[in-house]
C-alpha cells in the first residue's frame, strides 16, 4: 500500500540551516548534511530544503550543499527557493536533487512550469503555493505570504497541474506558525480538484494534526519544520501514532 509521507523542511541560508534546531546530539546544528542524515535515519520519508539566500555567489553554495546532501542521504529530497529558470533547475538536479519546488516565479510566469516539465519531467516539478483567506476567499500570496496576488488558490492549483506540476505543496499562511492544525478543508477541496499528490504545510503542532490532515484533508504528505527541529514531535513516535490511527506509513 502507498504510504503517507512525513517531510521535515529545512530553511537554508548560505549553505547553513537557519532556524535554531534542538538536536543536542548534533555536532553542528547548522550543518544541513548532518541534520538531513539524522532525519533520514529517523524515518523521514522525504526532505525539503528551502533556500532563502539571494545572491549568485550564494546559489553556488546551494549547489554544493545539494551535492553534499545527495551524497549523504538515501531518501528523496526537494530543493526550493528563488528558482526561476531551466538553468537553475538543471544545476540542482545535476547535483543530485530529486525534485525542485517553484513558487513566485511560477506565479509571475506560469509558462515556466511547462518549460521545466518538458525538460525534466513532471515528476520532479513541485509547485508551491502560499495562500491565505481574504474575505472568505483563498488568495495566493508571494514573498512568504506578504504580497497578495490576483490569483485564487483553487484556480491556480488547477492551472499549475494543467501546465505540468507533478505535485503541489500548499502552505496555508493562516495556519503557518499557529500550531493549531493544517488547513484541512482547503486541502480536501484541493485533493478533489487535482489528480497529483498534495503536500500539506502550515499548522503542525500535535501528532493528531498529522492524523487529521491525512484523514480529513486527504493530504498525501505532511510537511513541518519547528515541531521536528525542536524535538516536540519525534518522527519514529509520530509514525507509530499514525499507524495506531490506521494511517498507512512506512
Amino acid at each position: 500500500m502507498l504510504t503517507k509521507r512525513i517531510i521535515p523542511c529545512l530553511d537554508i541560508k548560505d549553505g547553513r540551516t537557519v532556524k535554531g534546531v534542538n538536536f543536542v546530539s548534533l555536532r553542528d546544528a547548522g550543518d544541513p548534511v548532518e541534520l538531513a542524515s539524522r532525519y533520514a535515519e529517523e524515518g523521514a520519508d522525504e526532505l525539503v530544503f528551502l533556500d532563502i539566500s539571494a545572491s549568485e555567489e550564494k546559489r553556488k553554495t546551494l549547489a554544493k550543499m545539494v551535492r553534499d546532501v545527495a551524497r549523504a542521504i538515501d531518501i528523496p529530497f526537494t530543493v526550493g527557493g528563488g528558482i526561476s529558470s531551466v538553468e537553475d533547475v538543471g544545476v540542482l538536479l545535476d547535483n543530485g536533487a530529486d525534485k525542485v519546488s517553484i513558487n513566485s516565479s511560477a506565479v509571475r510566469r506560469p509558462e515556466l512550469i511547462r518549460e521545466l516539465a518538458q525538460r525534466f519531467g513532471t515528476q520532479c516539478i513541485v509547485v508551491a503555493i502560499d495562500a491565505k483567506q481574504l474575505n472568505g476567499e483563498w488568495i495566493v500570496h508571494l514573498v512568504g505570504g506578504k504580497v497578495p496576488t490576483e490569483r485564487r488558490l483553487f484556480e491556480w492549483a488547477k492551472e499549475a497541474v494543467e501546465r505540468g506540476a507533478g505535485e503541489l505543496l500548499f502552505t496555508s499562511m493562516d495556519h503557518d506558525g499557529t500550531k493549531q492544525g493544517f488547513a484541512n478543508t482547503a486541502l480536501n477541496e484541493l485533493s478533489k480538484l487535482v489528480q497529483v499528490p498534495i503536500i500539506a504545510s502550515g499548522g503542525a503542532g500535535t501528532m493528531n494534526h498529522f492524523v487529521d490532515t491525512f484523514a480529513l484533508g486527504n493530504a498525501d504528505a505532511a510537511l513541518a519544520a519547528s515541531v521536528f527541529h525542536f524535538k516536540e514531535i519525534s518522527i519514529p513516535t509520530l509514525k507509530t501514532y499514525l499507524q495506531q490511527h490506521k494511517i498507512p506509513v512506512r
Binding site: T3, D74, L93, T122, Q123, G166
Partner: protein, 192 residues
C-alpha cells in the same frame, strides 16, 4: 571489477553514483560502448520521457548494444521500462528484453504514483529483504506483470515493480533512494 552507469543524458545519475559510493563502490559514468561491454556490472538509469530517452539511446548506438550485454545489467525506473517490448509513453518501441508492455495508470488515484509503497519480491535481487518492504517510486507508466516479474507492487492494480530475465534485471522503484532496503538491493545486484 568495474561498475558502469550508462550516461546517455536521461536523468539523475548522480544519486545512483552516490548510492554505490555509500556501498564502497566507485562507478564509472559513460556512454562508451567498449567501456560498457568491459564492465562487471552495468546500471541503466532513466528519468523523464520515454521517446526522448529512446532517441538518445538510438543516436548513441546504445539501443543495439544493451540487449547484447552478457554481464548483470540493472535498469532503474525508465531504464527498466525501456527494456520492455513497448511503452505507451510517446508510443515508443523498447529494447525488447523483457517480454511485456508499459502502459499509463488508468485510475482515479493520483498520477504520478509517488512515494513509498510495499513490494513483494523474490529471487536474488531481494535476498535479505523482508517481504513487503517499502521502496520509493515515482512514475506515471507501469510495466504489466508477466513471467519475468520478480517484484510486485499494487497501486489500484498490481504491476511489475521488478523484472528479471537471464542477466537482465529491472526495478521500477529507485533503490538509490529507498533507504536501507534499496541499499541492500544494490548490494545484491553487485554480488551477482
Amino acid at each position: 571489477m568495474s561498475v558502469v552507469i550508462i550516461d546517455y543524458g536521461a536523468g539523475n545519475i548522480q544519486s545512483i553514483k552516490f548510492a554505490l559510493e555509500r556501498l564502497g563502490t566507485t562507478a564509472v559514468l559513460t556512454n562508451n560502448a567498449n567501456v560498457i561491454r568491459e564492465a562487471a556490472h552495468v546500471i541503466f538509469p532513466g528519468v523523464g520521457e520515454a521517446s526522448t530517452a529512446m532517441e538518445k539511446l538510438i543516436s548513441s548506438g546504445l539501443d543495439t548494444l544493451i540487449p547484447t550485454l552478457t554481464q548483470p545489467v540493472l535498469g532503474i525506473c525508465l531504464g527498466m521500462q525501456l527494456m520492455c517490448n513497448r511503452t505507451a509513453e510517446g508510443n515508443t518501441k523498447g529494447l525488447g528484453i523483457f517480454d511485456t508492455d508499459v502502459v499509463r495508470f488508468d485510475t482515479n488515484l493520483n498520477v504520478p504514483h509517488m512515494g513509498w509503497n510495499t513490494v513483494e519480491g523474490a529471487g536474488v535481487l531481494f535476498g535479505g529483504i523482508p517481504q513487503n518492504s517499502h521502496f520509493y517510486l515515482v512514475h506515471s507508466y507501469y510495466a504489466k506483470s508477466n513471467g519475468n516479474t520478480v517484484g510486485s507492487c499494487t497501486y489500484g492494480i498490481p504491476f511489475a515493480a521488478a523484472l528479471a530475465k537471464n542477466n537482465f534485471y529491472g526495478t521500477q522503484f529507485h533503490p538509490e533512494k529507498s533507504g536501507e532496503m534499496g541499499a541492500q538491493l544494490l548490494k545484491n545486484f553487485l554480488a551477482i
